[in-house]
């Protein structure tokens, strides 16, 4: 069972938990005398960080801090090597063909905005962008802004009440006007693992490029961008056990080469005259200004950590835990779980007949259980399902069955509290 589960690096779940300092600290609640244990079930919002990540970022500022790509001194070379070394790690992590196809941004949102502003700059009123109804606001609003600027039209692959894409409509939605398809790999509300392979292959048969929002998928499954053959893949360090403030955009070389710069400034130029400038090579053309080198160093350490655990082992454990959670949660009276009943990621949005998700989250917080409540930055999908708010528990490899049992116990208690409290 769980206690006997051993990850590829030889560690048990208990030992893995020891790698995460925050899982060892006690939580102090408002007006609550004794600090209590944290039961962190909000990894889909942001993952906790292993000590190695925290140490790598701290080490950078203690021993390696210098500006990159310009300093000729030793420290500058160290910092540059560290920053570019992390780029190599990301390249290997997602199996990109070239290292210069990896662009560091601030987050998934900025990665998508980069594509919208730069790749989308040439779009016009005759062009269509095909998205889905389950997109996070980060893969919707940048395209709405682009549509306002260029007149291009947005179309959407509908979702079913079960939180799955109605891919049978794909053939009619893809037209010779479609200039780009943008789709979320794993839904942050439903946990749906979308069949992006089918979407990519259909779009490519019509020469339409595809952008994948991999914010929720990259932490839980091995990504091979060459095998997927996607044109853009956007994800974030902070959901992958790395520091906040680092995002990644993978783009195919031939597309990135043709795209105009996204932001202007230092580092992205080759030569600057008062009358105009020429651009640096990839990837630096898209990395204007001093980047978050410490964060990138931390992200490199996060990738090392994940590699040591191995995705085979992470997936096997997380799938087991997800199935356990699905069974346990669906057994609770008065609870509705959203999303597919079959294969899914460890993201469970739910509502309770007798109490609002905020009150549920507040009740659970009393016991140290951290879940998300709200619209999950996906209001159109929520509207379609006619729900204004949901609570969401999301899992990672550092969670245990006993944490899920505790969650179930307290969800039941919350229902009783709000019913009997009157």
């Amino acid at each position: 069972m769980v206690a006997e589960w051993i990850f590829a690096n030889g560690k048990s779940v208990g030992e893995i938990r020891e790698d995460f300092p925050i899982l060892q600290t006690k939580l102090t609640l408002v007006d609550h005398d004794d600090p209590i244990d944290l039961v962190y079930l909000d990894t889909a919002a942001t993952a906790q960080k292993p000590l190695k990540v925290i140490q790598a970022e701290a080490r950078y500022y203690r021993e390696q801090n210098a500006n990159i790509h310009r300093a000729l001194h030793t420290l500058g070379e160290t910092a540059t090597a560290l920053y570019e070394g992390s780029r190599d790690k990301v390249q290997a992590f997602i199996n990109a063909e070239h290292r210069h196809e990896i662009i560091f941004t601030r987050n998934t949102t900025e990665s998508i905005n980069l594509v919208a502003s730069s790749f989308g700059r040439s779009f016009g009123p005759e062009d269509e962008i095909l998205l889905t109804e389950m997109e996070h606001h980060s893969n919707l609003v940048p395209w709405q802004l682009l549509s306002e600027q260029t007149g291009c039209k947005l179309k959407f692959i509908p979702i079913s009440p079960g939180g799955e894409l109605e891919l049978e409509k794909l053939d009619e939605l893809l037209t010779n006007k479609t200039a780009l398809v943008g789709v979320v790999h794993i839904s942050n509300i439903f946990g749906t693992v979308n069949d992006i392979e089918q979407i990519i292959s259909k779009a490519h048969s019509m020469d339409i490029p595809v952008l994948i929002d991999g914010a929720q998928s990259s932490p839980h499954m091995a990504i091979d961008v060459q095998q997927l053959d996607c044109d853009f893949f956007a994800f974030s360090s902070h959901k992958l056990y790395g520091p906040m403030g680092i995002g990644i955009l993978y783009g195919k070389e031939k597309l990135l080469e043709k795209m105009p710069p996204y932001m202007g400034g230092g580092d992205m130029i080759r030569s600057v005259k008062l009358t105009g400038s020429t651009w640096n090579d990839l990837p630096w053309k898209f990395e204007a200004g001093t980047p978050n080198v410490g964060g990138v160093a931390g992200f490199g350490a996060a990738i090392d950590y994940i590699k040591e655990l191995s995705f085979d082992s992470i997936c096997e454990y997380e799938n087991m835990l997800t199935e356990y959670a699905r069974k346990s949660l669906s057994g609770i009276k008065n609870i509705k779980i959203y999303g597919p009943s079959g294969h899914r990621a460890g993201v469970f949005s739910f509502t309770h007949n007798d109490l609002h998700p905020h009150d549920m989250a507040q009740f659970l917080d009393r016991y140290g259980i951290a879940v998300r409540a709200g619209h999950h930055c996906a209001q159109p999908a929520m509207r379609k399902l006619k729900v204004s708010s949901m609570a969401r528990a999301s899992l990672a490899f550092y969670n245990t069955r006993s944490e899920i049992d505790f969650l179930v116990e307290k969800i039941i208690a919350a229902g009783e509290y709000f019913n009997n409290g009157i």
């Binding site: 609002h356 009150d359 507040q362 009740f363 619209h375 509290y417 409290g421």
Partner: protein, 139 residues
Amino acid sequence: MAFDDLYQEIILDHAKHPRNKENLDFISDDEVHENPTCGDSVKLAVDFSQDGKLERVRFDGDGCAISTSSASMMTEIVEGKSKEEVLKMIKSFILIMRNESESSLDDFGDLIALEGVIKYPLRVKCATLPWHALEDLLA
């Protein structure tokens, strides 16, 4: 225990049996007030008496126990008051809830039950949402 301060019985009662809550589908969705961080929404209908006082306030929407009970109690306390009086009350209520005021909710009848919310800054917006909606409607 702070949690029981937050969910006092009177709050749970108003949340479960909200007063003056009716289907207000005749009001357009454009008039809905939303809390952008959580998706909670409220809309209000105000009937004025001939002398310009608030005769009846009804609300509709979807919210947590805190915002529903706040809306429910608000509709009760403003009844029969003049627009000016109510606007003053709203300003005062919002400042108290944000912990930016020396006053307390002593003069707010049952709404004093919401004082426990002040300790939970993330929930203050839930309590003030219907009050902001009424302020916009009267202003």
